[in-house]
């Protein structure tokens, strides 16, 4: 099902969205912090949440432009892949995820056991974009 026509501009709903983002960002940071035995300051979590929220605005505008360029009114997975083009590591990751999601869809239709790729291992956080974040602090 597609999503549209929701009361987006209401300030209260914006606040709710920000809070939802903040919550998930907080949990992700907590998890990463635990795995590395360090703690994120509340300020940092809030900053990451705020940045993520703002990035979504940019992502949405780009996605809309891509879809429109392809003469579609519905944003598709192909548009998202285009969004991820700036880094090959990111692009590959999104491509893989897209294939994985498509496979899960096919598997659930066949009603056979869904074969989960081992993406939820302990080292999950360093697997995603191995080349990207390991450059820091070298």
């Amino acid at each position: 099902p597609e999503t549209a026509g929701w009361e987006e501009t209401s300030p209260l709903n914006q606040k709710r969205l920000k809070a939802a983002v903040h919550y998930t960002v907080g949990r992700l940071c907590q998890k990463i912090g635990e795995e590395h035995r360090r703690e994120f300051s509340r300020q940092t979590i809030a900053a990451i949440a705020e940045t993520t929220f703002r990035e979504c605005d940019i992502f949405a505008q780009d996605l809309e432009a891509f879809a429109r360029h392809a003469k579609r009114s519905t944003v598709s997975a192909e548009d998202v892949k285009l969004l991820a083009r700036r880094s090959s590591a990111l692009s590959n990751h999104i491509q893989n995820k897209s294939e994985e999601l498509a496979q899960e869809q096919r598997d659930s239709r066949k009603k056979s056991t869904v074969k989960r790729k081992s993406r939820d291992t302990e080292e999950e956080t360093s697997d995603f974009l191995p080349n990207m974040h390991r450059k820091i602090g070298a």
Binding site: A20, E64, S76, L90
Partner: protein, 81 residues
């Protein structure tokens, strides 16, 4: 970590509301496959932000990740996404 990995991620509904609220045209819609992929994209964005900030803090011998660490890695993060 011996306990079962519980996957933290954004709710589908949150992702679609977030994106749809920024569309300029009424007729623009978000496909469900695109929503799922964007959920992943946002998760990766947050993880990269957090991990790079953490690595920055580690390189400065700090035990706590402070906003300064995030600020230092932010420009490159935005360039990569």
């Amino acid at each position: 970590m011996a306990e079962k990995e519980e996957e933290v991620c954004f709710k589908k509904e949150t992702v679609s509301k977030l994106l749809c609220s920024s569309f300029k045209e009424d007729k623009t819609r978000l496909g469900s496959d695109a929503t799922l992929l964007m959920r992943e994209m946002l998760k990766v964005f947050v993880q990269e932000a957090a991990l790079r900030s953490l690595k920055q803090a580690e390189s400065e011998d700090c035990n706590r990740i402070e906003i300064e660490h995030f600020e230092k890695i932010l420009p490159q993060l935005l360039l990569d996404f």
